[in-house]
Amino acid sequence: MPKCKYDWPEAGDRGLIGESIDRVDGAVKSSGRARYSYDVHPSGMLYARMLTCPYAHAKITSMDTSAAEKLPGVKAVLVIQPVGSEIQWAGDEIVAVATTSEAAADDALRLIKVEYDQLPFLVNEEDLSKAGDRAKPSAEQKSGDPDTAFKDPDAVISEGYYGAQVITHCCLETHGSMADWRPDGKLKTWSSTQSVSDLPGQIGEGLRLQKVDIQNSDIETVCQYIGGGFGSKFSPDRWGIVVAQLSKQTGKPVRLMLERDQDLEVAGARPSYYGKVRVAGKKDGTITGWDSDTWGTGGMGPSGNPPVPYVLEGIPNQLKKHTRVNTNIGPSRAWRAPNHPQAAILTMCALDDLADKLGMDPIELLKKNIDFAPEILRQAYVEELDKAAELAEWKKYWHPRGDKTPGHLKRGLGVSIHTWGGRGHASTCLIAIHPDGSVDVKLGSQDLGTGTRTVIAITVAQTLGLPVDGVNVMIGDSAYPKSGASGGSTTVGGVSGSTRRGAIDARDQLFAVVAPALGVEPTQLESVNGRIQVTGDPSKSLSWKQACAKLGVKTIEAQGKNPGQCKLGDSGVGGAQIADVTVDTETGLVKINRMVAAQDCGLIIDMKTAESQVYGALTMGVTYSLFEEKVMDDQTGIMLNPNMEFYKLAGIGDIGELVVHMMTGPGYDERGVIGLGEPPVISPGAAICNAVTNAIGVRVPTIPITPEKVLAALAKGGMA
């Protein structure tokens, strides 16, 4: 028997939990029937688009919307930023129109005349010497005695420059929503959002700031399916307020989805981090000091200091400086595992260079220093490094720096480790068991494609002893009980916790109704295999339907909450990844042979969608390591690649073999459920950088590792 009422079943009794189960919305998606916000299209709906600023930094000096207002098909013109406004990035929204067709919206925007005074701008930050007063140094952080550590004559010191570029989120469904402000004063939005429960409040606040009167309780947000978020879709954004204003103004439903170029320019970017890093170590590999001077940009806002030294945070004798650079590139947003992939590059590449200087295998260096990692994860890291090394055939393929085999194709392996929190968020749910045996689970959560619906269905089905399709999962509507936003890998822990507790309470209510019929106390019952039975005695049982029929006309309802009684989840996961690449020293092209991930995340609910998270993370990791970059033009201040032919995502032929191993069993499962979305996307960058270095014998300092950079590095002193 579990120690605490709501505990997860013990190993051997977990049934569906941890099995590889198809996602419950797989068929609706693969058949093209899933309705995204972009697809919602009620009769009479108007199309909205926005005119944006073509300059990186400017002041609006005049505006004339009269011609657009007269154009047939134009139902509303809304000035978002009036004359006199100072604009801080190209692509910022100036005027919105609502029209009867998409084409009319384009025509209307072309007729709007806006004049600007251009102002000085900065859009590139890698060369800090050009940042001038845009550079904002933060206070130096010091621990121990770094001076002495680096002056120690016995210390081996490695020094290097590393960095990660600004990238965008590039969600395939652009940001936006469809808003319907009805005659009764109620507003309903179909929003592409990671935050269904919180959005109405944010929309209400945004509207009231625009002097539009509405109560939060009169706003409902729906998001059944979302075409990607990755951390960029937590708030309604300005366009989410504008579309509601347009709907109110016109009395029609209005849809406003960003155009692709706008989405890439303004709807989210991952901050860059560059840094000069020194690491000191003893000859036996023990790290004795860390010195980093880092900088980066998150647009005009703060993006935080990178969490370095990463994972091995207990390295003694640290000196850290960080400078934020304010640039006119558009706002930064949380990008899957905010700041961690960049910190992994700054740290794991520096440690790889130290290992090379020491003549050590980098995996041995990490293990040697693993006591600098948080205690709870040390054992996991050692096991994960061993597992990843085995799966990547590290002993066979890794070699000291520089592939010495003849020819222009050089193969190399690189390693990185990572961590993330992932504790379940606050979540409430309502579970209903109906007299006909049907079961509804309602909560204002959302499924970003991570498998949230599936996890909920499995949790409730296993708890009630039903098949997965015996549970009707209802999410994606703010009218349901409030559940947290999906960010920071908090959803799986949140929704599995709330629905487990709710399902146990609902089940116990059912037991109380059924027990007299079976002549036992409710505590003697169990729900397994679609039956309510006396524990261990299937001969004294009722089928689920028979049992529910005893409810008469009364539906059982139970609320579930997370956090709550009993420990169902935890925080803090580790993972190790190894990249195996081949570099063509004639063309500079990097080809991924294999990516290996060993990842823990506590108790896994659905193995299939869990593995998909890791496969996806490795793929995204290949993309940000080799291909994508928000390229800003120093001359004009605009983004040069706001489209999908030049904002490059990896294709199906670019990713190599992906090998995923989820760490399960004793030491992992009993921690309960922990989130998985962020952690596996952290290490690919560092692992690929280290693999390229291992292959060609010289470091390509920054990602993306383009052919041009590879050839430049080789020209500087590698093996050509």
């Binding site: 068929a27 693969s30 969600c171 469904e173 294709g651």
Partner: protein, 216 residues
């Protein structure tokens, strides 16, 4: 690396002699001002009077979609994708890049795959258009759709309908593909969540499942 777009995935030339990419969207076909670029457009604009010129206002357009005939009034600049989504409420084809790069809007034109964002609706007249709604449903999955579920070849699902269409067409041309052929043949579709590993397995598996049986 990139540039693996399948050369065969080209829509047929429309009857009027004006093909895709001949237009810069947002300009009427009859307007030949500075907004239009491309040599083909120049030729179209100078074409003899016998070459039909339509628009810029709405014109009658007849589309054959999933075996049904739809008579619409559309401006000539409306793309096939916009017509499918906005006029016929067939929203399986997604608007993502809107310029013939990502494959999320893949449909069949006379059973050959095409990017619906890259064709004008009037170009599709006289051709049989098939959308994902025409090859299966959630209760009656096509073999490729089924394989996508089985191998979890989808996450957010936004690229999925386009991939299912591309995979279906690919397997019609190449019923016994190798992994390498899959990677080349499906290079014209992009995914952000990173579902390629599942898609590779799904295509190879669907190929097996479709042996000897007809589909879609």
């Amino acid at each position: 690396m990139r540039g693996k777009r399948d050369k065969h995935r080209r829509p047929p030339a429309a009857k009027g002699g004006v093909t895709r990419r001949d237009f810069l969207r947002g300009a009427g076909v009859t307007v030949s001002g500075g907004l239009l670029v491309g040599t083909q457009v120049g030729k179209a604009a100078q074409a003899p009077a016998s070459s039909a010129v339509a628009g810029p206002g709405a014109v009658p357009v007849t589309l054959h979609v999933n075996g049904k005939v739809h008579r619409l009034q559309l401006e000539p600049r409306v793309t096939l994708l916009e017509a499918l989504r906005n006029e016929l409420d067939l929203t399986g084809a997604k608007k993502v890049c809107d310029r013939g790069v990502c494959g999320s809007c893949t449909v069949f034109v006379d059973r050959r795959p095409a990017y619906a964002c890259d064709l004008l609706a009037i170009e599709a007249e006289g051709h049989q258009i098939t959308t994902i709604e025409g090859i299966g449903s959630k209760d009656k999955l096509s073999p490729v759709m089924h394989a996508f579920v089985e191998h979890d070849a989808q996450q957010c699902g936004f690229c999925t309908p386009g991939f299912v269409m591309a995979c279906t067409a690919f397997l019609e041309r190449n019923p016994n593909p190798t992994l390498e052929e899959v990677e080349k043949g499906l290079g014209g579709n992009l995914c952000r969540c990173g579902t390629y590993a599942g898609i590779r397995l799904a295509v190879l598996d669907a190929a097996k499942a479709m042996k000897g049986g007809s589909h879609a």
